[in-house]
Each structure stands twice: as C-alpha cells, then as structure tokens.
C-alpha cells in the first residue's frame, strides 16, 4: 500500500478503531481521531512537498485488480489538482476534528462518521477508476446523513434526508453516465479512457447523452442553479465540523468531477454546450449572491454565498481556457479555505453567543476582537480583495472567461458575472457591520473570545488564504501539468 492509499484510508482505519474497540472512552476516541487526521494531513503535506511538477501526470499511483470480471480495479493516483484538493481535504478534516474536540454528544460515533467522511472525499479526489470513484462518491452520503441528522440543529432530519435524496438523484444520472462510458470503451480506468478517442468508438449511448448524465450528478454537488436548494438547508443545519467539510471540501467534488471527467473525456461536447454552462454559472453567481443578501441566519448566509462562489468555478471551467481553468481550480481551493474559515468563525460565534440571527447580534468587535479580526479576514477573502486567495482565483476566472472568444456570449456572461464581486462586497460588508460593528451590546459582555485552540486552527486557514493570495505560484506550479494537457484540447 502506497503513501496515497495510506493517506486516504488512515481516517477510515481510525473510524474503524473507534467503532470496533468496545467501551472506548470519549477521550481516547478523540485522540484516535486526532491522530488519524494529523497523520493523514502530514502525509498530504509530504506528498505536496515531493510531488514532481516537472514530470506532471498522476503520481503516487496504486493499482490492483478488484473485480476482474468487469475489469474494475482499485486504482488511485493524483495530479496537481487532486493533490491540492487532497491537501485541502485533509487540512479541513484535521480542523474539523479540532473544531468538535469538545463534543459531548456521543463523541465516539461522531468522530467515526467524521473520519469516514474524510476518507470518502479523499477517495473521490484520488480515484483513477470510475467505479471506485463512484463508490467513494456514494459512501460519502452515509456519514454526512448521520452527522446532520444526529448532531445538527434546526430542521436537521429534513435537511439530512433532503441531502441524501438529492445526492442520490444526481448520482443516479452519474452512474448511468459511467455505465455508458464503460459499455462504450470497455474500461473504468481513467488514464485508459483519456487515451481512447471516444467519439470514434461506436458507443452504447450518444456522447452528448453521457456528458449530460455525468454533469447532472456533478452539478447537483457543485451546486449549479437550479439544482442548489439542498445546499442551504444542509449547511445551515449541519454541525460546524460537517459544515466545514461540506462547504470546504465536499462540494468541490462537483467541480473536480466536471474537470476530470466531463471536460477531460468530452472536449467536443464541453465546447458545444459551453454557452449553456457559462450562462448557468452567471445565473448561479448573480442569483446566488442576490439571495445571500436577503439571509439573516449567519450560516444560511454563508451557505448561499457558496452558491455564488461555486458559480465562478463553473464559469472558469467552461471558459475552456488555460487561465480560466486555472482560476477555477484555484477557486476550488481558495473557497475551501475561506468558507472553512467563515463556517469555523460562525460556529465559534454561535457557540459562544447562543445566537445565530444577524439582526440580534451586533457590536461584538468590542467583546470578541480576535473573532472580529478573523471574520474580517475571511470576509475580505470572500470579497476577493487582493492579497487573499479569493482575488487571484476570481481574477483568473474572469480573465479566462472573458478571453474565451470561441464561446458565444462569453464576454457578456463574464461582464454580468462581474457584478458578483459587488454582491459579495455588499453581503460580506453588511454581515461584518451587523455582527461586529456598532455599539457593543451589554448582553454579550460575558461572551468569551477565541481560545488558543480556536486561534490555532483559524490561523492555519488564514495562513493558507494569504499564502496563495500573495504567492499564487505555490498552487499554480503544481496545477500547470494538470491543466495544460486539458487546455490544449481546445487549443489554448
């Protein structure tokens, strides 16, 4: 078993240990969870350090036969994009464990599900076999269901169930698409599929049909308008750790799937339908941002802002242009860090003040100066202020999408999408104003600010936001070999 497989399965092993050891105390289950998440994070960092971007391609591969009769294998490997997403996921997994370290309600089960969730997401980002990809994709639903329905708040059962049904709805189409690919090319293996000129093979399904079956599954997850309404409910009612994983890492599976499968295997269809998806991206950005402005629940507000920010990913992906694709990949990582920070901050805020309604908060910068600083940084990231990762990601998306001259209407879509930065400024600044500024309220006088542990994990995310924002080459250098071959499919 190679280092990548170890990274993927360590959290699951931790979950297994927590579940299997009878009578394990809460303290030890925490420690096991922390150990598994920490080692997995360290291994991800190690892979990031030794990944050879000059050579490019998929590295740290592990491959063996799994179901020989249908030629399905266990095949994992990562390129630059997978690498960054694996790093992001293991970082957020680690932080999620820290965030919920004090969980009192059945900590054993909680940490077991949380770790299993991490493994499944890591598996999605690393799978090079479509059946394996699908299996990881589906496994993720189970821990998320239990995390939301058992440890959530508000209408948690409704939100959890909605999440499950919506995901299954999307993955039904996706599975049909994967089957279509299998019966066309006779393999689930992604590198082999890349080598096959699919359009020349007499397939079981028309190419466009497979493309749409697959992208519906991914569009639900990203999410793309009009398939997004599961997201605000799930994010709002999930416990903080699950919100961080969901918004920070899990929804990136949608963007990743489009990049890896829809664009990589269907370049002709992608180009043909690019105006449709750029249009949907534009709607997601503007419509999502506008709705965000109407929200008064702080978690729901952050959740809706994700709809808008994921629109930038879709816009960048369907620019089919090197710069736009890079911007989309950067946005996946950047949004993971920024939204992770926003949800972590919102979690601390709600935990300490017992209040989540924006209009009932106010003036907290006096009582919680550190949290105010953290939230301000997260907000300027979400607004795309230079120096943060949000800026470089969004500006690359815009430059790429505007330059995509071969796609009808790309300039118009981009200019309208540009109003997304105005909407983002409006809702983030208003949130800061209503929650933190203005006269301090005496009712919050005894509210505690960040503890050392909280400062530590918020600091990790802040460091990531500024690292990419100030020195984007750290991300773009590893992304280049992953994106260049894809961009060359459309001659750019």
């Amino acid at each position: 078993m190679g280092i990548l497989s170890l990274t993927i399965f360590l959290p699951a092993l931790g979950a297994l240990a927590i579940g299997a050891i009878p009578g394990l105390s809460a303290r030890f289950s925490r420690l096991i969870a922390l150990a598994a998440a920490t080692v997995s994070l360290c291994l991800s960092f190690y892979m990031f350090a030794v990944y050879d971007s000059a050579a490019g391609g998929f590295q740290f591969e592990d491959s063996f036969q799994w179901i020989p009769s249908i030629n399905a294998g266990y095949h994992v490997g990562i390129d630059g994009l997978s690498l960054l997403l694996v790093l992001l996921t293991s970082l957020l997994g680690f932080i999620s464990v820290l965030v919920s370290y004090k969980t009192e309600l059945r900590p054993r089960a909680f940490f077991a599900w949380l770790l299993l969730l991490e493994t499944s997401i890591l598996g999605v980002f690393s799978s090079l076999d479509l059946l394996l990809f699908f299996v990881f994709w589906e496994i993720e639903v189970i821990p998320m269901y239990f995390l939301i329905s058992n440890w959530g708040s508000g209408r948690k059962e409704y939100s959890a169930f909605k999440y499950v049904l919506y995901t299954l709805f999307g993955s039904a189409f996706m599975l049909a698409g994967i089957m279509g690919l299998y019966f066309t090319a006779g393999t689930f293996n992604l590198p082999e599929l890349y080598q096959t000129e699919l359009s020349l093979v007499a397939g079981s399904l028309p190419m466009a049909a497979m493309f749409f079956l697959l992208i519906i599954g991914f569009a639900v997850k990203l999410p793309v308008f009009p398939l997004h309404t599961w997201l605000p409910d799930a994010h709002t009612d999930a416990p903080t750790a699950a919100s961080i994983m969901l918004a920070g890492s899990l929804i990136k599976m949608g963007g990743y799937g489009i990049f890896r499968i829809c664009l990589g295997l269907f370049p002709g269809e992608a180009q043909h339908f690019a105006p449709l998806f750029m249009g949907l991206a534009m709607v997601s950005i503007v419509y999502g941002g506008a709705i965000t402005l109407r929200q008064t629940d702080i978690k729901r507000l952050i959740a809706y802002s994700s709809v808008s920010h994921m629109g930038f990913v879709l816009l960048g992906l369907f620019s089919l242009h090197y710069i736009g694709l890079t911007g989309a990949c950067l946005q996946l990582v950047s949004h993971g860090l920024i939204t992770g920070l926003l949800f972590a901050g919102a979690g601390i805020l709600m935990h300490n003040t017992h209040e989540r309604h924006i209009k009932k908060l106010g003036g907290l910068a006096r009582q919680m100066p550190v949290l105010a600083g953290v939230f301000t940084i997260a907000s300027i990231g979400a607004m795309g202020v230079p120096g943060t990762s949000g800026f470089i990601a969004e500006v690359s998306v815009f430059l790429g999408a505007f330059s995509a001259s071969s796609i009808a209407g790309s300039a118009v879509f981009t200019i309208i999408s540009l109003t997304g930065i105005l909407l983002a400024a409006a809702y983030m600044l208003t949130t800061l104003l209503k929650v933190f500024f203005g006269p301090a309220k005496p009712s919050f006088d005894s509210v505690a600010d960040l503890t050392r542990l909280e400062k530590f994990y918020c600091g990790l995310l802040i460091a990531g936001i500024f690292l990419i924002g100030l020195y984007p080459a750290i991300a773009t250098d590893v992304l280049e070999p992953a994106i260049a071959p894809l961009a060359s499919l459309w001659g750019g």
Binding site: A172, P206, A290, I291, R294, A365, V395, A411, L429
Partner: protein, 627 residues
C-alpha cells in the same frame, strides 16, 4: 536619475510595508506594549520621503522614464505573465513626493490628535499599509498590480474610516465607502479584461504601445478608457459615485487629511493620467472626463455652500476640486491636472488638519457652535486662512497658479465648461471664507474653553502652510508642467508677474475676491443676513441642503426598493417557492411511488435499487430523445 541604486527605489514602498508588518504582526503577536509604534511608522515614512525626494529631484532635472524589472509573480502557461516591476517617470515622481510627504506630516500630526486613543498600534499599522499600497499603485508597471494596490488602498480606507467601529455612523460610512468605490472598480476590472483580451498583455507600457500602434481597435480603446474612468470616478468621488466621500468624514480627521483629501481620492486622477495614451486616442472618453469633471466641480461646490459641518464643507470642496482636476485631464492636458493635484494635496491636507485642530479643542465640527476662535487659536487660524486663500486661488499662493492653468485651458477649448469652472471658483472662495468667518470670526458660541493645539500638531500645519503658499512657484518657469509633458519654459519673473498680462488672471482674481467679499459681508459684517439669503433662494437652498436627495435616491429607492426588497426579495421567494417547492414536490412524489413499489416488491427494495431505476429511466429517456 542621479544614479540611485535600484534597491533604494524598492525601499520607497518597502519601508512602509516593513513598518506595517512590524507593527501589525510582530508587535501584536508579541504583545509588546509601547508608545513607539507611531515613531516606527514615522521613521519608515520619513526615510521613504527622503528617497522619494531624491528620485523626484533627479527627474526634475532630467525627466525620463525608467523601468525597474522585478521578478515574475504569476505565470499562467505563458499567457498571463505578471511581473512585479516598477516604473519611475515624472508623473510617478510627483506622486511619490505628495504621498510620502503628506503621509509623514499626517502621522506626526496624529501623534497629537490621536493621543490617548485606543488601538494606536492598529491605527499606525493601517496608515503604513495605506502608504505602501498608495506607493505601489503609483509605481507599478502592470495594470493587474495597479489594480491590486488600488483595491488595497480602498481596503485601508475602509478600515480607517471604520477605525471607531463602535460608532454606528462610522461603521456605516466605512461600508458605504467600500461599496460605492467598488462599483467604480467594476468598470476598472472590466477594462482590464478588455485590454488583456485585445492587447494580450497587462504591462502598462505594452498596452500603450499596442494602442498607439493601432493593434487595438478604437471601440475597445474607448470602452477600456471609459471603464478605467469609471474606476477613477469611484475613487475620486466624481458624480454620480461621490456619495461615499462626505460620509467618510466619520473617520479620524488625520485619515481624512491623508486619504480623503490628498492621496487616495487623487489616485483616480493619477490613474487617468497614467493611462492617458488611451484617453488621447478616444475623443469620446476625453469629453466624458471633461464633462463629468466640470459637472462634479459645480455640483459639489453648490452643496458645500450650505453645509454646517466644517468637515463636510471640506469634503464637498475636495469633490469639487477633484472635478477640476478631471476637467483638466479631459481638456487634453495631464500636466495641469497633476499640477493642481500637487498643490491641492498640500492646502487641502492643511485645511483638514486645521479642522481637526479646531475639533480637538472644541469637540465639535459644527460651525454653528464655533466662532471667535481667531484669538484663542492663532496658529490654527493663520494657517487655515492661508489654506483657504490658496484654495480660493489668490495670487501668489499655490492654488492660484494651478487653477489658472485649468481655467486657461478651458477658456481656449470649451467655453461652457470654462463658465462652469469660473462659477465654481466663485463658490469655492465664498464657502471657504464662510467657514473662516463662522469658525474664527465673531464671538465664541460655547462654554468650553478652547485652547491652541500642541506643537506636534501645529508644526505639520506650518510646513503645509509654507507649501500652500509656495508649491505653485515650482512651476513659475513652467518646468513642472513641462516635465509632465505639456508646457513651455519661461523666466520665473514672467511666471510670477507676467501672468497678469493676460486678462484671465484678473478675471479669476476678481471672481475669487468677490466670493471672499460676499462671505465677509454675510458672515463677518452681517450686512446681509444669511437666513434671509437662504429664504430668498429657498428652493435652491433646500436642494443643496439635501444634497440633491442623491443619498435617498440610492439608499431608499435603488438600494432598498429596487434591489434588496424588490428584485433580490423576488429571487429569494422564487428560490423558496418555485425551485425548492418543485424539489420537495418531486421528492414527495418519489417517496409515494417508492412506497408503492416497495409493497409490490415485498419491501426488498434498497436505496440503490431506486437509484438504478432512476438511472435506467434516465438512459431510456435520453436514448429516446437524443438517439
């Protein structure tokens, strides 16, 4: 360029950045409690100023453009390559001096004004970051880096307006400033996209070269220039994006002097000047700049006539003078606009410091509660009068020379705009001396015992007073405007006195003089009752006093009714009722059907079974419709 080593030029923006890092990150995290933070920031800015002066002196003697290559910051597949490099040219040189000098003086002044305030560390850290960003904006040779600094300057402005975040008005003003300027930035960013797509580069000089060589179509140039100007309108508070600047006065007064009078608000003028080759290729863009500038100058001047808050008068005056600069740019002349920017920076910063000094001792900005301060605060009064005379355009003070150039250019190019500018000059003289007589003349109105401010505040004001008198003399020989690319050299005596051979000088002096006389008659001698005048012109007075109801239009009607409670609310309800409603209906239907199927299959159907069913149904549908 005096052969200044490149490392020293890098230190001009580098030192304030280092001060920011030291103050914000090191001192905060190490929790060092000390009062040295201000001195650290001042030392960094002072060194930066000395280097800037060195650079500028070299350029004054031998104007040229120097590029300093930096390192590659971003390289996306060789298509988008961003290098961090610096450009030094006369335009940059003049901005470097203005930014570092005003920043230095404001920080010294702040030692007195902000004394005893909480979080001074944060204050000086943000001022240092602002100074860095402003210098970066001025020196950057790449449009994307310029845009980054541009946004960073706006962020610092936001953070400093909201420095007293517990005051609701300050917090609201900060949000408004960021948001309204960002509307302008939308245009700037769109222009960047357009230029990158058409010219294939974001390097400023390469863009100019491509535009001049005709590699970029004239439509693109016009749209790009208009987009850039939209950004400039936001930052330089030009009508209709001006509403944030008067509100920004909620920030600490030294911040107003630095950011909202002398430097950041002038960066829009600088930006248009920096991208001038594009504007020169587009008559449409140039006439837009000139018209917006003249309209803004007149419009803001009328509001300044009736404000009671001394800082609000100064804020509208700043908007008006920025309009003057834009008018200068639109008339086809970078040099005269930059000359006015240069002199304006000094006398307007001085006036703000004077207002701050008055506030520091009386505790108010409301002129109705002042009066008679001339005897109690002689230094403040003297410097304020000098600043007002300079702003009113009285010979031989700085404002006279720079205003004269703009009026002169307008007279020979655009008679209508000239008339607007002349009317503005009259109003400027009137409202400034209205402030002078209301604040310093007459009898003191309140019970508090005002006192003169301390030396640490007076000395920066004296320095600026000297510059408010003499800054214009730099161009007596026409040297300054010449190195800025437009002007002719002459003897200094001709520049000093010979200007009166032209009737315009007499006209503008007469106009300014009559404005001052009217203010004297109304507010000092009270021959004319201000109330009666207001009553006679009550319809105009009401319009001016309510600032043409533009804030109400934006906030109540466009912001709230049209967007937030209108369109956005509609979206929100559409999302809940139509989209989510459909989802829930479909899910409900599926649950029902699955129950039905489950009874058929003796309850053996698992979730995956259902999934497969959907998948196969989807395949069937797609085969039918697409195959």
């Amino acid at each position: 360029m005096n052969n200044i080593p490149e490392q020293l030029i890098w230190m001009i923006p580098g030192l304030p950045l280092a001060a920011f890092v030291a103050l914000f990150i090191l001192v905060r995290s190490l929790k060092i409690r000390s009062n040295l933070n201000g001195y650290l920031a001042i030392a960094a800015t002072a060194a930066s100023f000395a280097l800037s002066l060195w650079v500028a002196a070299g350029l004054f003697n031998a104007p040229a453009e120097h590029g300093i290559t930096g390192f590659e910051w971003l390289n996306l597949g060789g298509i988008l390559v961003i290098e961090l490099g610096l450009t030094i040219n006369p335009l940059t040189g003049i901005m470097l001096v203005v930014v570092t000098l005003v920043s230095l003086l404001v920080q010294i002044y702040s030692l007195g004004y902000m004394h005893g305030s909480k979080s001074l560390n944060r204050y000086f850290a943000f001022i240092s970051l602002f100074t860095f960003a402003m210098l970066g904006l001025v020196m950057a040779d790449n449009l994307l880096i310029m845009f980054m600094c541009w946004e960073l300057v706006g962020l610092c402005s936001y953070l400093l307006i909201g420095f007293w975040y517990h005051r609701p008005a300050a917090a609201q003003a900060a949000r408004k400033a960021f948001f309204i300027t960002r509307i302008g930035d939308f245009g700037f960013l769109a222009a960047i996209l357009l230029l990158f797509t058409s010219a294939g580069t974001l390097n400023v000089n390469d863009i100019h070269a491509a535009a001049i060589a005709g590699a970029v179509s004239s439509t693109v140039i016009t749209w790009a220039a208009l987009g850039i100007f939209m950004g400039a309108m936001g930052k330089s508070a030009q009508f209709p994006l001006h509403t944030w600047l008067p509100d920004a006065m909620e920030g600490p007064t030294p911040v107003s002097a630095l950011i909202h009078a002398a430097t950041m608000v002038a960066s829009g003028v600088f930006l248009v000047g920096r991208m001038y080759p594009l504007f020169e290729l587009s008559p449409t863009a140039l006439s837009t700049v000139a018209t917006i500038g003249a309209v803004t100058a007149l419009f803001a001047g009328t509001i300044a006539l009736v404000m009671h808050d001394i800082k609000k008068v100064l804020a509208y005056s700043t908007i008006s003078q920025l309009g003057y600069m834009m008018l200068g740019l639109g008339l086809g002349d970078v040099a005269i606009a930059l000359f006015h920017l240069f002199t304006h920076a000094f006398f307007k910063a001085l006036l703000f410091m004077g207002a701050g000094s008055v506030n520091h001792s009386t505790g108010t900005f409301d002129m109705r509660k002042m009066g008679g301060l001339a005897r109690l605060m002689p230094w403040t009064c003297a410097t304020f009068v000098i600043g007002s005379l300079s702003l009113s355009g009285i010979w031989p003070l700085a404002g006279f020379f720079s205003k004269e150039e703009i009026l002169n250019s307008a007279l020979s190019n655009q008679p209508v705009l000239f008339a607007m500018a002349l009317l503005t000059a009259f109003m400027t003289a009137f409202y400034m001396f209205r402030v002078v007589f209301l604040t310093f003349g007459g009898e003191y109105q309140s019970r508090l015992k005002p006192h003169e401010s301390g030396k640490v505040m007076i000395i920066p004001m004296l320095v600026l007073a000297v510059l408010a008198v003499s800054a214009g003399w730099l161009n007596l020989t026409g040297r300054l405007t010449t190195i800025l690319g437009h002007g002719h050299e002459q003897s200094w005596i001709y520049g000093f006195l010979g200007i009166f051979t032209h009737p315009l000088a007499w006209i503008s002096l007469a106009v300014a003089g009559s404005g001052i006389f009217l203010a004297w008659a109304m507010y000092q001698k009270r021959w004319l009752s201000a109330r009666k005048v207001a009553w006679t012109f009550r319809s105009a007075y009401t319009v001016f006093f309510h600032k043409y109801w533009i804030d109400e239009l934006y906030e109540k009607y466009i912001g709230a009714r049209l967007f937030n409670n209108g369109l956005f609310n509609l979206f929100n309800r559409f999302d809940a009722v139509v989209i989510d409603g459909t989802v829930n209906d479909v899910a409900g239907l599926n649950l029902k059907s699955s129950k039905a199927i489950r009874t058929l299959q003796n309850g053996r159907l698992t979730q995956y079974g259902l999934v497969f069913l959907f998948g196969i149904a989807a395949i069937a549908l797609l085969v039918i419709f697409t195959g």
